[in-house]
């Protein structure tokens, strides 16, 4: 397979060269925000750090973190570093838990974003000749427009279909011969169901590659999407606080993770409890610093996404670090008897057991001074037996696997099907009854 790049020099730069570019850009950024944004300056002063203290990339750790609340506290434009007349676009998050968070872009930011998105598309195997079906929502959400500008930058054909109306989407796929699909993974599965209902065979379509993101999805979901849509499913990562889609993208040769467009977005992995930077390869919270953004740069933004970084060379030739598929959020992290537990780890165990469906809920309680964890698993017909022994062995097996992976003993409770709420957007996976 021949590998294509969008900006070959940057994407394959030896790491020493890349790191020197990163340092220069970081120093410039820190000076600029210190001078222009009062909240950043205040936080740096409180932490006793000055722009000239940033002498190496390691010094990044001296800078204070930025969290979602900082964005809310400065709603709507308080963290912008340029006058509003230079801002050509704003995007905003939905603000389900309070005020929305607003981000802005200069013309140059849009140019940078278009380029990283074009890189992501090429990285996933798309090219000029592709008919790209963009089913990310257009609007305040960064997904639709962010991907759209990248498609045009690449010179491919954009179908700005946005989300919803699956029937029309499928007719368009058929008639326009869409070759690349951009959507959330759950919407991709919706489309597959709609195809089934319309009796459209995915093999009769021209889809070749899917670029899926904007929500966490498991490897088993990837297999399902690939099978049902007859395409190669790749993972994309992005968030509006950092840029939008195109922060990282899986290449076609990777054995693990997505390439981060590191000359623009500097990643770190920290311990979510202590804030300490963790060594390469260790799992923790992903933190980003933007290196080139003008209107809304961000320093050490805590994404709450759990991942790890792989600096090992990739078969595709890109030297850009890879981030592991996001496996959970620090918000869902449970500490049970001192052990960090992520619902996604439990899901991983369940998916690995033949016949078990990943419909589960974790119930945590405190009995006396001891935390207890109960995992409720639905009994599907695939695993049901009329013999008590068989079901009890299944519970024991799940319990043992969880113990092996997490180091925590739990109680497994088999429950009737559909007693656990189905995932529509965000499934509630944890019921924490502890009063701490």
């Amino acid at each position: 397979m021949s590998v294509h790049y969008w900006e070959e020099e940057m994407e394959t730069l030896p790491r020493v060269g890349l790191e020197s570019i990163q340092l220069r850009r970081l120093q410039h950024l820190v000076h600029r925000v210190y001078k222009t944004v009062a909240p950043y300056r205040r936080k740096m002063e409180e932490a006793g750090v000055r722009p000239e203290d940033i002498k190496s990339l390691k010094d990044l750790a001296k800078l204070p973190f930025t969290v979602k609340d900082d964005l809310r506290d400065n709603y709507p434009f308080g963290l912008f570093t340029v006058p509003l007349e230079q801002v050509v676009r704003v995007h905003a998050s939905s603000g389900t838990t309070g005020k929305p968070t607003v981000v802005g872009y200069t013309a140059k930011d849009i140019e940078t974003w278009s380029n990283v998105m074009a890189r992501a598309l090429v990285c996933a195997g798309a090219g000029k000749n592709d008919m790209i079906h963009n089913a990310y929502g257009y609007g305040l959400f960064t997904g639709g427009l962010g991907a759209h500008y990248g498609i045009e930058k690449l010179g491919a054909t954009a179908i700005p279909v946005s989300g919803g109306n699956s029937k029309r989407q499928i007719n368009i796929m058929k008639d326009f011969r869409s070759t690349v699909l951009l959507s959330t993974p759950s919407y991709a599965l919706n489309l597959a169901d709609a195809m089934d209902a319309m009796q459209v065979d995915p093999k009769s379509l021209s889809l070749r590659v899917g670029i899926f993101g904007a929500e966490p999805w498991s490897e088993s979901m990837r297999e399902e999407v690939e099978r049902k849509l007859n395409l190669k499913a790749t993972d994309i990562y992005g968030l509006s606080e950092v840029m939008g889609p195109g922060v990282a993208q899986e290449c076609l040769l990777t054995d693990r993770g997505m390439h981060i467009m590191e000359d623009h977005f500097l990643p770190e992995i920290i311990d979510p409890e202590t804030g300490e930077v963790l060594p390469p390869g260790e799992k923790g919270e992903l933190v980003f610093t933007t290196l080139t953004k003008e209107a809304f740069p961000i320093i050490r933004y805590r994404t709450k996404d759990i991942s790890r970084l792989y600096y090992e060379p990739c078969a595709c030739g890109r030297t850009l670090v890879r981030m592991e598929k996001v496996t959970g959020r620090t918000d869902d992290m449970l500490i049970i008897r001192g052990v960090n537990v992520f619902p996604s780890q439990v899901e991983h165990v369940l998916v690995g057991i033949e016949g078990v469906e990943p419909h589960y809920v974790i119930v945590v309680e405190r009995e006396g001074n001891l935390d207890t964890m109960q995992v409720q698993v639905e009994v599907s017909e695939n695993i049901f037996s009329d013999e008590v022994r068989v079901l009890e062995n299944l519970s024991k097996h799940i319990q043992q696997e969880i113990k092996d992976l997490l180091g925590v003993t739990c109680r497994v409770k088999l429950v009737e099907p559909r007693t656990i709420q189905r995932s529509e957007g965000k499934a509630q996976r944890v019921i924490d009854k502890r009063k701490i």
Binding site: S380, E381, D386, E387, V388, R389, L391, L414, V415
Partner: protein, 143 residues
């Protein structure tokens, strides 16, 4: 010779058994025999009914996990030692009983024993050799 039995997974929640039996009644399904195996967390309801497929479908439609297994129904005289004779025969053959339950038919003369054995085919062979009466589903339903 084998009789089809349906099994339903039950969480230990009040009213579940009432719900299942009402669903069966509403669909004109007659229960011929039943047993509940229970543990601290869950139960398994085993049923022999006159309309197996229909029962499976309606229970599934109501969100229950339903399985189908083959069991053996042995008819014995309703008197002391009836069950013991059957179990002696099975013991001699070295076959384990996974579970069993029993009911007495209308006339009260005979009892029907429902068995799930570890080795079903061998069990039938030995029971037949021992001269026991093995019932089909039709025979059970017409009792």
């Amino acid at each position: 010779m084998l009789v089809e039995q349906i099994a339903v997974f039950l969480e230990n929640k009040s009213g579940r058994l009432a719900e299942i039996t009402s669903i069966l009644a509403d669909n004109d399904i007659n229960i011929r025999a039943l047993s509940v195996a229970d543990t601290a967390d869950f139960g398994i309801l085993r049923l022999i009914v006159d309309k197996v497929e229909r029962a499976k479908t309606v229970l599934r439609e109501n969100g229950f996990t339903v399985g189908k297994t083959q069991v053996i129904a042995v008819e014995v005289e309703d008197k002391t030692g009836g069950l013991a004779n059957v179990l002696q025969c099975i013991k001699k053959a070295g076959i384990n009983v996974e579970y069993m339950y029993a009911f007495v038919n209308k006339t009260g003369e005979n009892a029907v024993l429902i068995f799930r054995f570890e080795k079903m085919e061998q069990a039938i062979e030995h029971l037949q050799k021992g001269g026991f009466t093995i019932l089909s589903r039709e025979q059970i339903c017409s009792l």
